[in-house]
Point group: C2
Chain length 193, copies 2
DNA sequence: TCCAACATGTAACAAGTTACATGATTTG
DNA sequence: CAAATCATGTAACTTGTTACATGTTGGA
């Protein structure tokens, strides 16, 4: 049956302000895109469905002389659906899919000299991402001495960014540790074989 | 077009030993299931496709008097396809989807007294999972003084388990920190409102 | 005037889940 | 002998990606 996460992600975004499909697409390229995202093709289809369900309403805003922006607004119906979903504890935990970890599980089938480049590439991607996320945090909360003083709306944003940073840093640390271990392992095997 | 991760996950599993669809289903309930998994319905369909592609071959093993177990084995074709994939660096990074983080982003729409139970539930699930993963690590590598001395096949298993533990512990830590922050935030707001 | 960004949609396909369907074997 | 586990499959459906398709607007 599906849990329609995208539905609630869109309702959540619209609870902040009215948005067009294009705006929603862009939001998924920002902070929240670290934890949920969708392409415009999926978003426009979902918006149509939400309109039919009367969870949202539509109005047109002119952006220029001819360009029509279709704006969407939460209905009270949609608002209560969102609230219900937000406090409903998650039944099922989904497998977090991670292709690099999957590859590594089959380590024995990877040649020794191929492993290190794979790690190097992963690490450089992780560090790039960490840098980007920290920049975002700095831009948004750089002057904030104490996150306790943030307004409630910004607090959500702050928590999501710190989560993403923690996740990536933990990942990078594990990559470093594993590469060290594998290198030593090869050395050890080389010695004893 | 898709990247057919399941295809390579199955080929990887078959590189360790011959397996039936049922065996593969069970493997996804073990360690590697922390990073990739599939239901039996998807697995049987994929196995059929892999047979057609001649990446695997099939033979029948009797399990009892009437019960036929269809066993699959990597062909040399499948083996080289697996090797190629294992060393091909990942083009695209997929969004790691996390429904709890998504909810939290919409924090302002959650009533104060509803937030703490949500965190408590998440934390209890995380700690349960961490305990389970550490048990697995103990069972498999408990007597191992130094992972450097593991055989190469087990090393992959070890790395995947330590990865899962690091991931869950980092997650739990962030949950603890965030709950503290939110609690202080409410207190702060209560004082100043 | 060209290019990037703005703006919206559909179609085809791939991937993944749930439900339906059936039967054998082992263990208490 | 009942229940859990072993064992294999198909059908219907949802979700998500890629490709196709079109037109506007603002700035260099």
């Amino acid at each position: 049956v599906g849990r329609r996460i995208l539905k609630y992600a869109i309702l959540g975004l619209l609870s902040k302000r009215d948005m067009s499909g294009y705006d929603i697409t862009n939001e998924f390229k920002q902070a929240i895109g670290q934890f949920w995202s969708a392409k415009h093709s999926q978003i426009y289809v979902e918006l149509k469905k939400l309109l039919e369900e009367e969870a949202i309403s539509q109005y047109v805003e002119m952006a220029g002389a001819k360009l029509e922006k279709k704006m969407y607004r939460l209905t009270s119906n949609g608002e209560s659906e969102l609230h219900e979903w937000l406090v409903k504890p998650d039944e099922k935990v989904e497998t977090e899919k991670d292709v690099f970890a999957l590859r590594l599980y089959f380590l024995k089938d990877i040649a020794k000299d191929e492993i290190s480049p794979l790690f190097d590439y992963q690490l450089s991607m992780k560090y790039e991402k960490i840098e980007y996320l920290k920049e975002q945090l700095e831009i948004l909360f750089g002057e904030t001495s104490d996150p306790v003083k943030l307004d409630t709306a910004s607090l959500g944003h702050y928590l999501v960014l710190t989560k993403a940073i923690a996740r990536e840093e933990s990942y990078a640390q594990w990559l470093e540790d594993s590469l060290t271990l594998i290198t030593q392992h090869h050395f050890h095997k080389g010695e004893t074989d």
